[in-house]
């Protein structure tokens, strides 16, 4: 597969190295001459000293026959522009952007970036798994980010405590489907009564997250 990687920082470097080892055809674009030179010493001619944001440079690198363009520079704006140019001018089937500011994720999706990798979000998720917070845990994104798989823990002050699924008014497009109690997963059925300590697994549309939080966790100040 022909992959263009834009950005020769740590991520771009190791990504290129791994992809080469797997036998893919790669061009790594790095605009800084010094950085490009250092990578060339180690990886050879796969690196070109070109700016992946420039249409002409992308064309030189062969963007019109690339299967994937991965923009992994440290700059969110640069990564967005690389993906948009690749998508709209070279019809690249799959574009991947590294996004540092988690708030940019939705925008990037709406603007046509196929896959978003957020190191910030990943570390955040790892931290949230470990600390007991009265918050919704993000377990995974589904359907390109439109739906989320979430976990909520029922606490003693939860509005859902002692109630059945039918007593909880959930927003449209939101489903509670599994409850984890005593380390055992059981499906949420009409007879389920939520107890303290239950972990409820839900699928929700991204925009319904707040409603879901209100119903299962209650009105707690948002932790950012």
């Amino acid at each position: 597969m022909f992959v263009i990687v834009v950005g020769g920082g740590r991520i771009g470097f190791y990504l290129t190295k791994e992809l080469l080892a797997e036998g893919h055809e790669i061009v790594l674009m790095e605009k800084d001459p010094g950085a490009a030179e250092r990578i060339r010493d180690e990886l050879g001619a796969v690196v070109v000293n070109r700016d992946g944001c420039e249409g002409t440079h992308l064309a030189e690198a062969g963007a019109n026959r690339a299967a994937i363009v991965a923009a992994v520079t440290g700059d969110d704006a640069d990564n967005l522009v690389v993906c948009q140019m690749a998508k709209h001018h070279f019809d690249v089937p799959r574009t991947i952007a590294r996004v540092n500011n988690p708030r940019n994720e939705v925008l990037y999706r709406n603007l046509g970036v196929d896959e978003i990798i957020s190191p910030t979000r990943m570390v955040l998720a790892a931290i949230e798994q470990d600390i007991p917070v009265h918050e919704l845990l993000h377990l995974a994104n589904l359907e390109g980010g439109e739906l989320e798989l979430l976990e909520a823990q029922i606490a003693e002050d939860s509005p859902a405590l002692g109630r059945r699924p039918a007593d909880i008014s959930l927003p449209d497009g939101c489903t509670l489907f599994v409850v984890i109690r005593d380390d055992r997963a059981q499906p949420v059925v009409p007879e389920t009564i939520f107890q303290e300590g239950d972990k409820v697994i839900a699928i929700s549309r991204t925009e319904c997250e707040n409603d879901l939080r209100m119903q299962l966790i209650g009105d707690v100040p948002e932790v950012v």
Partner: protein, 171 residues
Amino acid sequence: MRVIIVGSGRVGAGAASQLAEEGHEVVILDIKTESFRRLAPGFSGQALRGDGTDTSVLERAGARECEWFFAMTNGDNRNILAAQLARQTFGIPHVLCKINDPVRSKAYATLGIDTINRTEMMIDSINRYMGKPAIPGAADVTVATVPPPPEKDAAVAAAVPEPPAATTGDR
């Protein structure tokens, strides 16, 4: 009516000073406070230090209630990101983005963003100074060919006047 300008360079600060003088509610953003020295001495607008490509900063600048948005930093890509946030996330009706690379400038005009290109403007000026014919459209804003769907309340949008003819190019 509120105007947000991202980037307090010569153009951004100059436009901000002039618009504030005319009585507009101007908010200017820059990541460096020292850039605000370019503003006119009696600048009556608001100068905020912050990253104009960050939604929370834009929110603080009042982007939810804003009619005009100018992305005028010296980085093309930062301007592109700021402009698309203004358009998509905040639904600001008039968004103008400075893009100095002519290729990117044309590309984004087809992606729904009004662009202004200093490179072409200056080449055009040089040409005309030499008595050559003007490059069509080079001196004007390139108005987006695919207008994005209006997200703001229709009544709010209707109350906003069209941009003056002098700034609209090959519509």
